[in-house]
Symmetry: C2
Subunit: 328 residues, 2 copies
């Protein structure tokens, strides 16, 4: 039983009072006010979401970043968060660094710590974040339309690449490793892009478990399929002088490895979204306004199924495993 | 460094956008709408908040109950919650029982599960709960007034008594143990009482770490002191045919043990609240309306300090240790 089966079997129930319940990036509460509350909760466990050797300041950043990324995927503006923290012991040096990293990112987004809990126990960080979005404007996983363009933001695969170097499965020179490691340890939540895509994109999700797996959630919830091109993994590309799609580091790797890392790596915390073809100019304007590079990588189809095409346009038949927090 | 020092030093900062931040039972968000959101988050760790042998259905109940108790202390109506769950493995029998206990209590309070997270890791349950309260009506820790009466709801000490039996520090006959154990494993959040006390009580807190310790938070935040009587620990009392203050089981124990358990036991999840003397009839009406027994046990003083009086009215000079999630 994987993580999503587990949620479906034991914890997914229809909601009556909430606007949106279990199964999207955020829940939505408050259907009467002009603004709705978007809510998301993520739990980070040592060894599964971060390495025990990570700088606590980077851990504080990442613990909030993964939650802000869920708000970004809904197009919500961050407002506040709660922090529940289990620690083996009250280590002042650790807490100083952790809280610095956490508050630096929180302050950059005007997102306030309003409550929480601390207890002794195996290291565990649970943040619940609250954002606001005009009623009816939240970006959902369930609204992709056949014919939509399919986009990603930023760079995919580098976080997973860094993880494989940490695990000794790959080697990189020091400079390249630092670049990849920053993507793993201090991801950038795409809050400004999500906000700019309100009224422009039809569906969105944040890429935390690998592009194909997370895109699969959009397809399932929207009852559609998709074609994903991979020509963007042949040559590094630029959007407004920023690398987009594949980093120069990833471009050094053999083709099959690039596919694995970019399409099914995980921990990217970029956005995957769809928009109607007549919104192409609006998508580019949203990307420029939010200083976030975006790349069009495919389209949504009426027929179900997810087809990945090689640069010659032929279907790639191999399987890609999405990251599962219950898989070993 | 204890739990509260840790929070003060690393995580308490003034809020600018929220109505109320770290340091009360709930945070309050949304100062423009007619209703405010009350938010609380609690993390439960095996071995510290529950025993590994506990029935998962009771654990599901308790994980939500301790959060609903925080809403009760603010006088908020439960609306929704998120659940983040770390599990060593996806055990279907465990998940079935856990989700049953959780949803039974959630349904009884009309509180919907709207989102969350599941991951593999040492067993850890983090629930964040959302309630609604009319703007300005939330019960706070900081509003106790000199001259206020001091009240508790329900029974104190039995949860701690059961814990001491589990630890082999005390023995009880089977019937009495079951009664005490139910108080430990399936506490009753006093949501209806909290709601009924809106506009009646001046300050409130839920008793999770022991009466004197939690009352201390009210005194500190309100800048006042209190006198607590203990004559209610001499003879079992009744309110509308329900036991109140001390259970018949606790009444069997020697006097010093009763004091320890009732005044500094922890895990009671009753309310401690203050109200002006001219509100006595209103307090009794709130108790009857909510079918919750209450007992007046002392009063608030302008002078700081917490004085516990024996049944002869003499100060008790011994120390009572509040439960601390970072103390060993």
């Amino acid at each position: 039983m994987g993580e999503f089966d587990l949620i479906d079997r034991f914890f997914r129930r229809p909601v009556r009072r909430a606007v949106l319940g279990v199964g999207d990036d955020c829940a939505l509460l408050g259907n009467t006010a002009p603004m709705q509350w978007a809510i998301s909760s993520d739990m980070l466990v040592e060894g599964r979401h971060f390495l025990s050797t990570v700088d606590p300041a980077k851990l504080g950043h990442k613990a909030l970043a993964v939650n802000l990324s869920d708000l970004a995927a809904c197009g919500a503006d961050p407002t506040a968060f709660t922090l529940a923290l289990a620690l083996p012991r009250a280590d002042e040096a650790w807490l100083t660094r952790f809280s610095q990293g956490l508050f630096n990112l929180a302050d950059a987004h005007g997102c306030e710590l309003v409550g929480g809990d601390t207890t002794q126990g195996p290291l565990n960080i649970c943040i619940t974040v609250f954002g606001q979005v005009p009623a009816g404007d939240a970006l959902l996983r369930s609204n992709a339309q056949a014919g939509d363009d399919l986009y990603i933001s930023g760079l995919l695969g580098d976080a997973r690449l860094a993880l494989e170097v940490f695990r000794g499965q790959l080697a990189l020179d020091a400079h390249d490793f630092e670049a990849a490691r920053a993507r793993l340890e201090t991801p950038t939540p795409r809050v400004a892009l999500g906000r700019a895509l309100r009224g422009v994109a039809n569906a969105a999700i944040d890429i935390s478990d690998g592009l194909l797996g997370d895109l699969g959630h959009i397809l399932q919830r929207s009852g559609v399929g998709a074609v994903v091109h991979t020509d963007w993994l042949q040559h590094p590309a630029q959007f407004d002088a920023q690398s987009v799609g594949m980093s120069p580091v990833l471009a050094q790797l053999p083709w099959p490895k690039r596919l694995d890392l970019a399409l099914a790596g995980g921990d990217d915390y970029e956005l995957c979204f769809t928009a109607a073809p007549d919104q192409r100019d609006a998508v580019l304007a949203a990307a420029r306004e939010s200083h976030t590079p975006v790349l069009r990588i495919g389209h949504i189809t009426a027929e179900s199924g997810l087809q990945v095409l090689d640069p010659q346009g032929e279907p790639i038949r191999r399987r890609f495993a999405a990251f599962d927090h219950f898989a070993s």
